[in-house]
């Protein structure tokens, strides 16, 4: 399985390696050299672009992690945590681009925030000429990324927490005189962090190479490196593909160095943290942290929710001029525009989502069950599962297309399903591995002493007991598959249309209304998936008290 996930990535990478060094015989470039790199490094603003990618890669996870940790510390043991959990999963289902559009309409000079104070308070009849979106430091872009990464990290943290016996640790520290938040920060956070490392690396990789969020909210003069790579790959001058290949390798290096910097910083922060922990501070700053932890999370998730509500309003808005707070007229026209186009891709989307997720769940369960039967610790090699998440998509998908073409595999549903699996498997693994390993081994042992074979035990005992995490993993996989744009487009030769490819194509010339409709439709299926993942186990086990809510 490892080979299956990493080989396509490596093959894809190798296919841009040669062009990056000036070798592309199809375009009569057959003299390898460093020409392309020289050209890349003299491109105006390339340093700025690279720096933007690097700073987003580091600040996004830092901010998201801080907020999540503060929130968990200030709400540990309260009802907040379980309430958040229910809210967070559906938020995770919203595609990045959809959230970015919503946010843009909230904070733009012509957006809702300014409309609410206009014209009564501000006196503005026309939107003020302020540079908020696409600011040159990329702050808005990072805000958009943080908004989407917080639900992800929060979900990962909430899934990891039960195995840490957080309440016991906190109670122990409280009995030593520490206030609850400090108790949590000193005793639970250091144990939780290692379990969040991989998700954090995924956040770093995503933030460093994001295309859609950067296009909507990111700086433009110059844009981030990833946006420029897409531009060069799609430049009518085919020779720009050499530049694009070299830049894609540069992108990979930036992502890797961001992870490197993060790992180096971990050591320093760990040292400082320990010093702080051992300083004996039992109560100082408790009140501030309490307010910060809760209010910042309410503000972030609130912003995300309002952004989504704005999409709903947009999807039904007719005429809606500045400074009106609400549309002057309402219409179904955007739905009528999009509706007929989406019927056919809907089938493909569902088929691909179910196919690739089923395959991914099958593979991941096979690996985990094998590990469980061998009674061994997780193999070190398993980190390789995450390679498709850590290598920027633009860097290897083009090469992968080339590879599939060389194998003479016709572009079609199978190929696209396979490409989706590359991204679905790591996320399914990410959400299933912990619950699977955490299942009390005594159930399996007990079943064996009762004479049940491993297969019978798996089918009658483990599978039903893991229904809730399996359903969640399935929903996560479905959401990931539905969100794939580049992978679908390239491996399907544009012929395999999904909600996402159609939506992006239409949005390239679209109005706010149609963009809102596609964003909602795109979010609807994964949300439905998450809702079912929450409800199905509850319904299924409604007559089994101990099966509701304990294993999710």
């Amino acid at each position: 399985m490892i080979a299956l996930l990493t080989l396509p990535v490596l093959a894809g990478l190798s296919a841009i390696l040669l062009p990056a060094f000036g070798y592309l015989p199809a375009l009569q470039h057959d003299e390898p050299g460093l020409m392309v790199w020289r050209e890349l490094f003299t491109t105006p603003g390339i340093g700025r672009s690279a720096w933007l990618s690097l700073s987003a890669a580091l600040l996004t996870p830092l901010l998201s992690l801080t907020l999540v940790m503060l929130f968990l510390a200030s709400t540990s043991g309260t009802r907040w945590a379980s309430a958040m959990r229910r809210l967070v999963a559906p938020l995770l289902a919203v595609p990045h681009a959809a959230a970015a559009f919503g946010l843009a309409f909230l904070i733009a000079p012509s957006g809702l925030m300014f409309r609410l104070v206009s014209p009564e308070l501000s006196g503005w009849q026309r939107p003020p000429d302020l540079l908020i979106l696409n600011d040159s430091l990329g702050l808005t872009m990072m805000l958009g990324l943080v908004l989407k990464e917080i639900p992800f990290l929060l979900l990962m943290a909430l899934a990891a927490l039960p195995q840490l016996n957080a309440d016991q640790r906190v109670n122990m520290a409280r009995s030593l005189g520490y206030r609850p938040i400090l108790a949590w920060l000193w005793t639970v956070a250091p144990a939780l962090y290692p379990l969040l490392r991989l998700p954090l690396f995924a956040v770093i990789a995503f933030a460093s190479a994001t295309v859609d969020v950067a296009l909507i909210l990111g700086p433009t003069l110059p844009p981030t490196l990833s946006v420029r790579i897409i531009g060069w790959f799609s430049d009518p001058d085919l020779n720009q593909r050499l530049l694009a290949s070299a830049a894609a390798l540069l992108q990979l290096m930036i992502t890797l160095s961001a992870i490197g910097v993060w790992i180096a910083a971990e050591k320093i922060v760990a040292g400082l943290y320990r010093a702080l922990l051992l300083s004996g501070n039992r109560r100082q700053g408790h009140a501030v942290l309490n307010v910060l932890g809760k209010s910042l999370m309410v503000i972030t998730l609130g912003t995300l929710l309002i952004s989504l509500m704005l999409l709903v309003v947009q999807a039904f808005a007719g005429t809606w001029r500045f400074p009106d707070n609400l549309p002057a007229t309402w219409t179904l026209q955007h739905w009528q525009t999009v509706g007929p186009l989406l019927l056919a891709p809907l089938g493909n989307t569902l088929l691909l989502g179910l196919l690739s997720t089923a395959l991914a769940v099958l593979l991941v369960v096979a690996v985990l069950e094998h590990e469980s039967r061998q009674g061994r610790k997780p193999a070190q090699i398993l980190w390789a599962i995450y390679i498709p998440l850590l290598v920027p998509q633009v860097a290897f998908l083009y090469g992968l297309t080339l590879l599939l073409e060389q194998l003479r595999w016709q572009p079609g549903l199978m190929m696209v399903g396979f490409a989706h699996s590359l991204f679905v498997v790591p996320y399914v693994y990410l959400s299933l591995a912990e619950p699977y390993r955490r299942l009390d081994p005594r159930w399996q042992q007990l079943a064996a002493t009762l004479g049940a074979s491993p297969n019978r035990t798996w089918w009658h005992i483990k599978l039903p007991m893991l229904l809730a995490p399996l359903a969640t993993a399935f929903a996560v996989g479905l959401a990931v598959s539905i969100g794939q744009y580049l992978a679908t487009l390239l491996t399907g030769a544009g012929r395999v249309t999904t909600l996402t490819t159609e939506a992006v194509a239409l949005a390239s010339g679209g109005t706010r209304g149609t963009i809102a409709v596609w964003a909602l439709l795109q979010a609807a299926i994964p949300m439905l998936g998450f809702a079912m993942a929450l409800m199905l186990p509850r319904f299924w086990w409604r007559k089994r008290r101990d099966m509701t809510g304990q294993l999710t």
């Binding site: 061994r376 005594r442 007990l446 002493t449 009762l450 004479g451």
Partner: protein, 209 residues
Amino acid sequence: MSGVSLTLKDIQISLHGRHLLQVNTRIEPGATLTVMGPSGIGKSSLLAYIAGFLASDFSASGEILLGERCLNSLPAEQRGVGLLFQDPLLFPHLSVAQNLLFAVSRHVSHRQQQVDQALEAVGLQGFGDRDPATLSGGQKARVALQRLLLSQPKAVLLDEPFSRLDAHLRQEIRQHVFQTLRDAALPTILVTHDVEDAAASGGPVITLG
């Protein structure tokens, strides 16, 4: 009912090269061997070794014989060794009757009837469709024992099975378990901290460590 004896021949268990315990004994059908000793001495790993799921961190040697049959190379489910844990561990997703049915071999006839009889034997007739979560502690313990017996083990291991029970229940369940195992002529190993358990078993005691 005639049982077979359980023989532990020169069994040694070590963890990461550190010697934990050594046992060499034979338990007759219907007899109970009590193993006592401080925590961390490896009592539970002895049971795990006999049952067939010792974690790979441990290394162990020595033969386990059930009658003439050597168990060492058999997987857990073919050893015919039953186990009662500290908790009754009724499968939470199955009804009481399904829990029992799971233990009845596919090759046994009248499986459902056997389940009904097993419930009746412990005064739980009519409880078959219940959610195990709705049973009392004593009822759960009885169902767990009946489940173990339905799987027709040739030997039984008890891993502190009474330690989580209330004091007033403990006495009653303990009597019930030992009586049942004696009647079934099963060689039994009991791991416990409680000297009263050892006394009630009426068998030999070895103390490790």
